[in-house]
Chain length 325, copies 2
């Protein structure tokens, strides 16, 4: 759940590799680095997050007869990585310091993680466009982090704009504080496992509004409401709320936390060499952050494998990548 | 078994794509092309053939918790491809005519298959070096094809040099004709599923010689014997045989059947562009024939996926590869 961050990590520890993202690229990288004996940490934002995590049905992943959900496939990959000793810790990465010998990765709840190498596998689900009023009221009612800000809205009504597992988990955490949570979903369904949605629906102070398009965040000094259009009734209305939490996905690479430290294209696609290394030695990238034109799980997994082998080579200063794993 | 070639193909048919090889690259390519509605034929040499097929244990293929045998993993991939309509036909490819609009692929038993496109996914298990006497007696007792030549050795003793499933299947076929089959294995075990080996062992006219190194094929006009060194007893001996069949694997790309039609490096590695297309339009390649330095199943599978998407684009003259499969 929202605030239930795993604490099974050692704050003092320096990992061999910190992998940002637990999709097919990150999970496969973790499987390979952990199996190679490298101390591996995977930071992830939510259980069923990411392009594969929200995929309802997949039947073309070679080796796994479908249809199964993308989330189920991910769970298998993650369990494999864990079985070799990879640690998975939940935490949204918001900042990084990659320039030194030891790389630092910061999560939204204020933790710092340190690693000799980093694999950026955070996918491509960032939003390209912001809502009207979103920037104006940021920090004055608009938030991107339930764990950080939910307590400010104790006994007050809020809106949570979400569409998937990630949004639901955040909303559940926020609902512990807020008097009322309007869960505003632009589409016609919540992209999350049915049991997650079912549990969420049963919360007494949550109201789910499907097919509601966000028009504007309104207020004066602070947020006073969220203007939405009900696509069913074809009418606009204002939800009277003091806070608006936004947890939506798009298709842009999720690389804000890099703060321009590694070379990227104009479209924010991370640039790597043949061994998946970015412009910073020891920092690698894999999967959809590279803007590969084929967004298939097996391609991302193969990228993750390549990045992991390159990390191993980098750390062990091996002369040559071999296939002897 | 050796001569039990599947006949469920239409000789007159023109396939959208002929895939040569049923390893992770070929099987994944077939899964994608068949699922995209393309008429897909996969030609393969033996059931548990190839680098993955002979792998005893694999536990780092993402999405498939191990350890399982490489052969089991392959079976899953092939079944997936079949479930979408891909046809798998057994037949060792020995020649191709790739220059025309319609590509022709020939198997060792004399069949011709025609396709609009070809994906070369035949792996890298060719032998770099030949045995002493091998070239001298080729066609005069030395053979690479049981189906073609076994009948010439009816009621005569032969040697079969093999190490895996492929060799065993050929030897079983040959044993139907020969009076005696010496199955000469350079290593200490036969790389094939245990049940296959067990069945093979029980054939009355087969004698398995493990840890026997081949020294020389001897004869005058025709083969008279095979000189081997028994590594256990540390002694050389001559097996008196009239035929020597060779079914060994190495690490060179298996591309003899291309007869130099597509661009290759000096090491016989097939050269492809970003979309896995060779120097001939409509002819693609994937997996170990590319001499990728990372010989992992997931990398080959990803290659197969890319090649399949490129085939689809080529056939449908799509403007752009999309991920909308």
């Amino acid at each position: 759940m929202g605030g239930d961050f795993s604490l099974n990590y050692q704050p003092e520890e320096i990992y061999d590799v910190i992998i940002i993202g637990a999709g097919p690229a990150g999970s496969t990288a973790a499987l390979y680095t952990a199996r190679a004996g490298l101390k591996t940490l995977v930071l992830y934002r939510a259980e069923a997050d990411g392009a594969l995590g929200v995929t309802q049905k997949i039947e073309n992943y070679p080796g796994v007869p479908g249809p199964i959900s993308g989330y189920e496939l991910l769970k298998i990959m993650r369990e494999q990585a864990k079985s070799f000793g990879a640690q998975f810790v939940r935490g949204k990465v918001i900042a990084t310091d990659l320039t030194g010998e030891i790389k630092k990765v910061y999560t939204i709840d204020g933790r710092e993680f340190r690693g000799k190498t980093v694999i950026i596998a955070s996918g491509a689900m960032e939003r390209a466009n912001k809502f009207k009023g979103e920037e104006e009221f940021l920090g004055r009612g608009v938030s991107y982090c339930g764990v950080c800000d939910a307590a400010f809205f104790k006994d007050q009504p809020v809106a949570v704009i979400g569409e998937d597992d990630y949004g639901v988990e955040e909303a559940e955490f926020i609902a512990r504080f807020a008097s009322k949570v309007y869960f505003v979903v632009p589409g016609s369904r919540i992209k999350a496992p049915p049991e997650v949605v079912e549990e969420f629906k049963n919360l007494p102070n949550v109201e789910i509004l499907l097919r509601h398009r966000v028009i504007e965040i309104v207020g004066d000094q602070v947020v006073k409401g969220l203007k939405v259009k009900d696509l069913n009734a074809k009418e606009e209305k204002i939800l009277e709320v003091n806070g608006v939490f936004i947890f939506l996905g798009g298709t842009k690479p999720s690389v804000d936390f890099l703060m321009g430290q590694v070379e990227m294209t104009d479209d924010h696609c991370v640039v790597v060499n043949e061994e998946m290394m970015t412009s910073i030695p020891g920092v690698f990238a894999a999967g959809d952050v590279l803007c590969t034109n084929i967004k298939q799980a097996v391609i991302a997994a193969a990228d993750g494998c390549k990045a992991a082998l390159a990390v191993d080579k980098f750390i062990n200063k091996k002369a040559k990548i071999t296939s002897q794993w």
